[in-house]
């Protein structure tokens, strides 16, 4: 999947206007990134990539780019 498509899915998941996220954002700067968003994100990644993210690694992610990096090459520029 292309980064752009993935960011669009994240925008939709977080109920942000399309095109809001660029990848550079810090998660702590996104008010919509809360504990329920984390659960939604795990479900999204499971559905899109058949991948169960480890909570430990997800907890270490600080930015949107870190989230993309968790997907190990499944999302490319």
């Amino acid at each position: 999947m292309k980064t752009k498509e993935f960011l669009a899915l994240l925008d939709d998941m977080l109920e942000l206007d399309p095109g809001t996220l660029t990848g550079a954002e810090q998660l702590s700067d996104i008010p919509e990134w809360d504990s329920l968003a984390v659960i939604s994100f795990i479900a999204l990644v499971d559905e899109q990539f058949d991948l169960i993210l480890e909570g430990e690694k997800l907890a270490e992610a600080k930015s949107v780019r870190d989230l993309i990096n968790l997907l190990g090459g499944r999302v490319t520029d």
Partner: protein
């Protein structure tokens, strides 16, 4: 000679979800108690593993996808005809996927309800057919403590398991004329592969915090199997429409 009030010698029992977790533990215990157990699940290989570990004679594997709701009655009737009418049915198949309501679309709801509730209703429909159950047969649904306590991010699962508890109550009344008892066990977190998945989505700190809600710790599959066997055996001859909570004290706190 010692008396075993949970003796199931020679009785035919069906266990769904028997390829792992609570289903597998139940199949092993029911076999130990003397039952002739038919195990089902989607994965023939893993069912064969369960079968290999079961004590005694008269067991068999019948791989089947319980998602095929309308095929369940004919399938179960076939099993009863090939063996003998069922004295018990432990419906252990189920799925848990966390998803907040904001992300729960129709496809997700349908999947969760088909596997967690529709399959149970269809099994009840199936076992009450003529010649499929012996008098006093016990049907046990594995519901969940989630039927009684809300969890953020788990709404659809909670709804489906709550529906199972209500279904057991109504079925108990409707199927009393067929001399079939219907009860639920409602476990909280049990150490199974399904729980591993739940655990893997948390950090270790988050999981340790979660465990603090369990005064007696989380459960083992055998803890749930014991309650299931009790509800199938004559020990629960007078019990129907009931839900047994198995939660290590979670809801007491």
């Amino acid at each position: 000679m010692p008396v075993n009030p949970m003796d199931l010698t020679g009785r035919h029992v069906l266990v769904t979800g028997a390829s792992s977790g609570i289903g597998r533990a139940s199949a092993l215990l029911l076999a130990q108690l003397g039952a002739h157990v038919t195990v089902t699940g989607r994965d023939a290989g893993r069912l064969a593993e369960t079968l290999e570990r079961m004590e005694g004679e008269g067991h068999r594997a019948a791989p089947f996808d319980l998602g095929a709701i309308d095929e369940i009655p004919a399938w179960l009737k076939g099993l009863a005809s090939a063996g003998k009418p069922f004295a018990g049915l432990a419906h252990c198949a189920g799925i848990q996927v966390s998803k907040p309501i904001r992300s729960a679309d129709e496809a997700f709801m349908s999947d969760m309800f088909r596997v967690n509730i529709s399959s149970g209703l269809a099994l009840a429909r199936a076992i009450r057919q003529r010649g499929c159950a012996v008098e006093g047969a016990g049907l046990v649904f594995v519901a969940s403590a989630s039927a009684f306590v809300g969890q953020a991010g788990n709404v659809v699962y909670c709804a489906a398991k709550g529906a199972l508890v209500s279904a057991a109550r109504a079925l108990a009344v409707e199927l009393a004329r067929d001399r079939i008892r219907v009860n639920c066990v409602c476990p909280a977190l049990v150490d199974t592969e399904m729980a591993d998945r739940f655990r893997s989505t948390m950090s270790e700190t988050q999981f340790q915090d979660y465990l603090k809600h369990y005064p007696m710790g989380i459960g083992k599959p055998e803890d749930v199997a014991n309650a299931i066997a009790f509800l199938i055996a004559d020990t629960a001859r007078w019990m129907t429409g009931t839900s047994l909570l198995l939660d290590g004290g979670l809801l007491a706190g």
